[in-house]
């Protein structure tokens, strides 16, 4: 099997991978636990049961970071949502979600047979979610004699990278006495997100999306009021597909040691994203889709200029990813030129300038034949 050198020899713009990039300290610890069953050196128990004494410090550190009273580790965010839904809801219950929600929110709700009411985004060009629409949705449903059992807010969506003010949605949730879940997969870990300060009831997080953790691990953080209602996925009699496995837990443990450093640079990450948007738009025929200014590193561009170039190429839309790879840039979906979705997270300004100049070159070549 070949070694993976995408991060060492290429600039990786893939928005899905940006927040999962590990640092040296994490890789060193995980490397030392790379043997099968390595996590069970001082323990013999059921394969999927996480020994609590081994993870007590991790629970403490993460609860402090997230402002939660208890955290349940799962395989990923989808499983964290399934865990919550199956713990507090039943088949046919109604939930309100935002129109920018990740498909896994819908998949998790569908798995449990929940009814979904989706709040629309503002449409082109911002596609924003207005927190006030949660109240409008509750009132509309009330007229139909329905009351949602849970509100779900995607703090930052994976499509436009729009950030929604969770505090405003929390006020509405409290006013109508409906619990609120924050999907913080793309935010917590990049920056500090504190459930206690926000005042919501639940938060789901992703180690591999935003904490720089190798492998898959998600978490469901809850406030004290809900602790006893959540079915602990590490218990022997619970489904096999929910709990996190040990190596991912080791990775999360290790990554928390550098989380302070990581979150300290968040303001600069956001500034860098806006700087890059400005540069790319200056090329012409490239325009930001989503809120402006950016409050996050996930960026979606409309790129009609690239689509026009693609029509002249033998490879059509595939020319772009091919041309970029030749000069050491990866992470764009092959074949796509109408829009490109990228992340600037963790990349240096020098690297982003290199990306910008590469796009300038591609557009100029088409325009002037140089």
């Amino acid at each position: 099997m070949n070694l993976r050198t995408l991060q060492e020899d290429y600039i990786d713009l893939n928005p899905l991978q940006a927040g999962g990039r590990t640092v040296a300290e994490t890789r060193l610890v995980v490397n030392s636990y790379a043997d099968g069953y390595a996590g069970y050196d001082q323990y013999s128990g059921p394969f999927f049961q996480i020994p609590r004494k081994e993870t007590a410090l991790l629970h403490k550190q993460l609860n402090e970071f997230l402002g939660t009273d208890e955290i349940f580790f799962t395989h990923g965010v989808r499983e964290a949502k399934v865990l919550l839904f199956q713990s507090i809801l039943k088949d046919g219950d109604l939930i309100v979600i935002d129109g920018n929600a990740h498909f896994s929110t819908i998949a998790a709700a569908s798995k449990l047979g929940l009814e979904i009411f989706s709040i629309k985004n503002s449409g082109s060009p911002d596609y924003k979610i207005d927190p006030r629409d949660y109240e409008a949705a509750i009132l509309q449903l009330k007229k139909e004699h329905k009351k949602p059992k849970l509100l779900v807010l995607t703090q930052v969506d994976g499509n436009y990278g729009n950030l929604v003010d969770a505090r405003k949605v929390t006020l509405i949730a409290k006013k109508y006495n409906i619990p609120l879940l924050l999907n913080s997969a793309y935010l917590a870990g990049r920056t500090r997100v504190n459930l206690a300060e926000i005042g919501a009831d639940f938060i789901v997080i992703s180690g591999h999306k935003s904490f720089g953790v190798p492998g898959h691990i998600g978490g469901l953080g809850v406030t004290q009021k809900w602790v006893d209602k959540i079915q602990d996925p590490s218990k022997e009699d619970k489904p096999w597909d929910l709990p996190a496995r040990y190596l991912a837990i080791v990775g999360l443990y290790a990554s928390l040691e550098t989380t302070d450093k990581r979150v300290a640079r968040w303001d600069d990450e956001v500034k860098k994203a806006n700087w890059f948007v400005e540069k790319m738009e200056s090329i012409g025929g490239i325009r930001l889709v989503g809120e402006r200014p950016k409050q996050h590193d996930l960026i979606l561009f409309d790129t009609p200029v690239l689509e026009k170039i693609a029509l002249t190429k033998r490879k059509k839309g595939y020319f772009l990813a091919d041309e970029l790879k030749k000069v050491g840039i990866v992470g764009l979906r092959p074949g796509q030129t109408q829009q490109i979705r990228i992340s600037t997270y963790g990349l240096t300004r020098e690297q982003l300038d290199y990306v910008y100049k590469t796009f300038v070159g591609l557009v100029k070549e088409e325009k002037y034949g140089i």
Partner: protein, 63 residues
């Protein structure tokens, strides 16, 4: 997690892996050209010097 015994040689070995991972981070920050600025060059030199010193520790095992 509970601490295990660690020999000087193993400590040195993991320390070297840790340094190499730091070098790997430098590669990541300078991809795809790996052209380093003066600060990064000094950082890399320090890593390489540390590695050389640690190699000497491991070489003792061969004597």
């Amino acid at each position: 997690m509970a601490k295990n015994m660690i020999t000087n040689e193993t400590q040195t070995l993991f320390s070297m892996i840790g340094i190499l991972e730091k070098v790997r981070d430098l590669f990541r920050l300078t991809a795809p050209t790996h052209v380093l600025d003066s600060e990064q060059k000094a950082e890399l030199m320090e890593y390489l010097d540390n590695l050389k010193a640690k190699i000497q520790v491991l070489e003792r095992i061969t004597k």
